[in-house]
Amino acid sequence: MIQLEVNDVSKQFGGLLAVNHVSFQVQGPELIGLIGPNGAGKTTLTNLLSGALKPSSGTIYMNGQRIDVLPPYKIAKVGLGRTFQVTRAFRRMTVLENLLVPALAMHPTARQAQFVKKAREVAEFLTIDHLLNEYARALSGGQQKLLELGRLLMLDPDFIILDEPFAGVHPRLMEIIYEYIIETNKQGKAFLIISHDMETIFTLSQRLLVMAFGKLIADGPPEEVKRDPAVIEAYLGSDSDKPWQPERKTPPAAGDRIAA
């Protein structure tokens, strides 16, 4: 049973409270969306979960184990995997080698040859199997994103954090990523997906977390969150009486009211 428990976590950078006393819990293979205006602290929160940053206060438990004190690689072994906002493929390694790294890291006594078949299957699933022996730097941006997802499949974590998986991706690749998320979720993995693509995130997720100015301002099913006055205020400003339009392709972040 997947279980993630975030208790009152804060992260301070100098005078800025990037994540402000956030608490939430995940039980079982949920598919959670995390949204919020730019600078709301979404990426900081994922960094806290994955151990890239240490919280200034608060605790995080995963499957009964306290993980906020662990180094990132141990968190990965507990069962939490992530991608990055900017793709971070190992550029001077082949696709196959990229895929082998997490598998070998998870199985300290296994040999490389044991995972090649699985790597090929993963690559096939993500339609990058013809590139297995190419260096990752030769891949297009979208293919590198797929490669990152492939590494997660090889890592095989229980809880997967995807930071902007749909940003700047060709519609065809987006389909694959979408399918990847649905399929993997069916296999019993929990997801936390950060996205600015409102349409996708609303249809995809079963539960939405909304952050603004470091705080978690809403947590619930998408339809409920859509009507939450706090969310509307965060996205549109308090003086608006229009209902929020989640169907828009891009959040209205371009307006200067967000910055206010």
Binding site: Q12, F13, G14, S56, S57
Partner: protein, 413 residues
């Protein structure tokens, strides 16, 4: 050897409690749910300064980290060291003779100002190009070499200041050419791994320049006489109690003696420093440079050509090193290797001052100058004192990198 025992025990005591403080303090702060940033360093300083008592107090009170606490405990640490030194070597000149110490410190500051100038060049390069030039010392060496050839060989009666000017132009041109040929490709995307490339290619340049110079001028030391003889002068006129000037020396307060060659070098350094500050803060080009160092893209949008700024910064940085060398060629004898310790000094200084900080570089230079002068003057065995000269700065470098990698004035994350 009886001398060092008490001294070394003191050092050991400082290190042990410093280490305990550095390791335990952040945990104590974390447990009390307080902000832990830099508490390791505070713990190290307080532990070294006041031992277990100080640490217990620190852990009970857990004050917020401030420059005041750090500075105060740092001074106490230095006092302990001085005290232990005085106790260990009561007959050392540094303990018995105040005028000697004052002279050492004054000379250290003078040389330090020039180190600072040189490090400013490296800081300029780092803040614009984002790289550390491992060939910085070679520009310093070439500055001195060119001055030697200009004033002694090619034009024997040339005004030394013109020699300095020639050196400045030469190193500026060299820096610009190197930047255009080897560093420009980094920003135009022709180099696959710019970070690694920058380290290696400047390292290669250092090697290349050293051996080219060696092949051209040979290994025998070059000596330039001091640029200017000062007229004899006294203030007040009879006793010279405040200032006594002879052709080769200046004596302040009957106690502090500075050779006039060094004094000339100091004047050159200070004039240049003010010219540089004027350039950076009052001219369009200077402002453009600073803009690029803060935000490349934003600067480019406002019509600044960042590529040209890169070339300018590298050339200027090389020139500052060149002028430092030109100013010091009258003080030290010059061989093709003088650039190596000079490079290391610049590294120490920019790390100490904080990478990319202009005031940090200059103040770092002064600190290093004083540390080296005191080290050279106070270490009891004169042979050892001279032999360990390059190591003092390196020890500072290691300590800063371990305790506070952002340096004194570095931009915080």
């Amino acid at each position: 050897m009886e001398f060092p025992t008490i001294f070394w025990y003191t050092v050991l005591w400082l290190i042990v409690w410093g280490a305990v403080g550095a390791l335990v303090t952040p945990r104590v702060y974390a447990r009390k749910d307080k902000f832990t940033y830099q508490t390791g360093m505070l713990g190290a300083f307080v532990g070294a300064a006041l031992g277990p008592i100080g640490l217990i107090l620190l852990w009970r009170l857990t004050p917020a980290v401030s420059a005041k606490w750090l500075g105060a405990s740092g001074i106490v640490v230095l006092l302990w060291l001085a005290l232990a030194f005085a106790k260990a070597a009561p007959n050392n000149l540094c303990v018995t003779n105040g005028s000697f110490i004052a002279t050492q410190i004054a000379n250290g500051l003078v040389i330090g100002a020039i180190y600072g100038l040189m490090a400013l060049g490296l800081t300029l390069i780092f803040s614009i190009l984002g790289i550390v030039s491992f060939a910085h010392g070679e520009f310093y060496m070439l500055g001195g070499m060119v001055t030697y050839y200009a004033t002694q060989i090619w034009f024997p009666n040339l005004n030394p200041l013109l020699g300095v000017l020639i050196a400045a132009l030469f190193t500026f041109a060299l820096g610009a050419i190197f930047e255009l040929l080897f560093l420009r490709p980094m920003i135009t995307g022709q180099i696959e791994r710019p970070g690694e490339y920058a380290i290696l290619v400047t390292f290669g340049l250092a090697f290349f320049l050293q051996y080219t110079t060696l092949s051209l001028v040979g290994a025998s030391p070059k000596k330039v006489p001091r640029f200017f003889d000062y007229p004899r002068w006294k203030l007040p006129a009879e006793t010279g109690g405040l200032l006594k000037v002879t052709p080769g020396n200046l004596t302040f307060f009957d106690a502090i003696s500075i050779p006039s060659a060094r004094f000339t070098a100091l004047i050159i350094a200070l004039v240049l420093l003010f010219v540089l500050l004027y350039f950076l803060y009052r001219t369009w080009t200077g402002k453009a440079l600073r803009a690029v160092s803060q935000d490349r893209q934003a600067a480019a949008v406002t019509g600044i050509n960042p590529k040209r700024m890169n070339t300018l910064a590298f050339a200027l940085g090389g020139m500052l090193a060149g002028i430092s060398g030109a100013a010091l060629v009258q003080v030290f004898s010059w061989v093709p290797w003088v650039g190596i310790p000079a490079s290391s000094r610049s590294f120490v200084i920019i790390v100490l001052g904080g990478m990319g900080s202009l005031p940090g570089a200059f103040i770092g230079g002064l600190i290093l100058g004083v540390v080296e002068a005191l080290g050279a003057g106070c270490v009891p065995d004169p042979h050892r004192a001279a032999a360990y000269l390059p190591a003092y700065g390196m020890i500072i470098l290691v300590l800063v990198l371990l305790l506070k990698p952002t340096g004194l004035f570095g931009r915080e994350l």
